[in-house]
Each structure stands twice: as structure tokens, then as C-alpha cells.
Subunit: 111 residues, 2 copies
């Protein structure tokens, strides 16, 4: 912790933007698909079950936020994590929800 209870507003906004991008199921699937080895757009589309067009739209957003980076090889564009810290966090959180007792599917909360 750098400065307890005193985070700059701009940092909160930056972080919220990152979370917002990861907060869409399709986009999160795309992200997860890119963790590990660089993936081509078409392959990602097939893996997550979305159109290449949609995947490309989302990849653009993830790239603009510097969450993914792009490298071209021939006709294909490969995407991979631009930030190891974020991808580590992602895997960590994924393990977290995987281990957690998956009650509370959407439940109400009593007092």
C-alpha cells in the first residue's frame, strides 16, 4: 500500500476503467483466452463462441486500455497480455471463484 486511505481520484478512475472492461462476460472470455500464449482473432472467436467482428471490437477496447497487445504475423493478428500484473490477478481471481463455495448464485441477502 502506497498511501493508505488516500488514493488519487485519477487512479480510482483508471482502475474502474480496467474493471469495467473486464466486467463484460464476452470480453472477459476473450481476455482469458489470451492468457498463456498469443492468440489469433479467429481462434479467439471460435473459442469464445462469438463472431470475429465482435471479438475484434472488444480486442480494440482491451488494446486501447493497454490490457492486451497486438502483434501481426502474416494475415493474422495475435493478441497477448500487455501487463503481467493484470493477467496474474486475473488467473488468481479465477481460481478464487473456482474454489469458492458457489452458493449465492444471485441470491438475496437477509439482514
Amino acid at each position: 500500500m502506497l498511501c493508505p486511505n488516500c488514493y488519487a481520484d485519477s487512479h480510482i478512475l483508471q482502475l474502474a476503467e480496467i474493471f469495467r472492461l473486464m466486467g463484460d462476460p464476452t470480453r472477459l472470455k476473450i481476455l482469458v483466452a489470451c492468457v498463456g500464449k498469443p492468440r489469433a482473432v479467429g481462434d479467439i472467436a471460435a473459442e469464445v463462441g462469438a463472431s470475429p467482428s465482435l471479438v475484434s471490437h472488444h480486442l480494440r477496447l482491451l488494446r486501447a486500455a493497454r490490457i492486451l497487445r497486438k502483434t501481426r504475423q502474416g494475415k493474422q493478428a495475435f493478441y497477448s497480455p500487455a501487463d503481467e500484473h493484470i493477467s496474474h490477478m486475473l488467473v488468481d481471481m479465477l481460481d478464487h471463484v473456482s474454489e469458492a463455495p458457489d452458493d449465492h448464485v444471485d441470491a438475496e441477502v437477509e439482514d
Copy 2:
């Protein structure tokens, strides 16, 4: 990592929901305000500069997702992290964006 490249769809959805909730600036500020010690609704509202009504709406969502938990003391309702793992991650990510070179405010990305 539990099962490399093989995360259940439901887990991705769960995680996306968590990220979605943290992806709103107001809600993220509320969350951050609750990390550390339990906070009353009115105090949170004052700290993040939002109406008590709005804060209450957001708290309800964060509580439904089991990100925050509620305890009453007299007239006031205190909210605190329900999940240490999430709050640790939050602080960690906050440090991450605080340390990072804050170029790319919103920039376009060249090829």
C-alpha cells in the same frame, strides 16, 4: 492455477459480475472507502461525494454480490469487505495503477 485453459463458463460469469460491479467509478470509490474499517452509509456518501440514496443503491448491489457485508449499530449501517481476497486484490491493483507510468490517459494505439 487449478485447471489451465479450462475455466468453467459459470466461473467466468461470476468473475465478470464482480468486475462489472467494481467497474463503476462511484461504486469503486465506495468499495475503497470500506476497505480498512467498517463505514457508515452517511460517512461513505460524504467521502465519495455522492448522495446517501445513491450510495445505498450501490451498497445494495455490492452486498448482493457478497463483496461487502452489512452490520447495524443503532441507527447506522456499517459496511465492510465480505471477502479479504477481493479487498487485497483491490488494494494491490490500486497500488499497481498508482505506480504505473500514467501515460496513455486515454490514448489511441498505433500499430
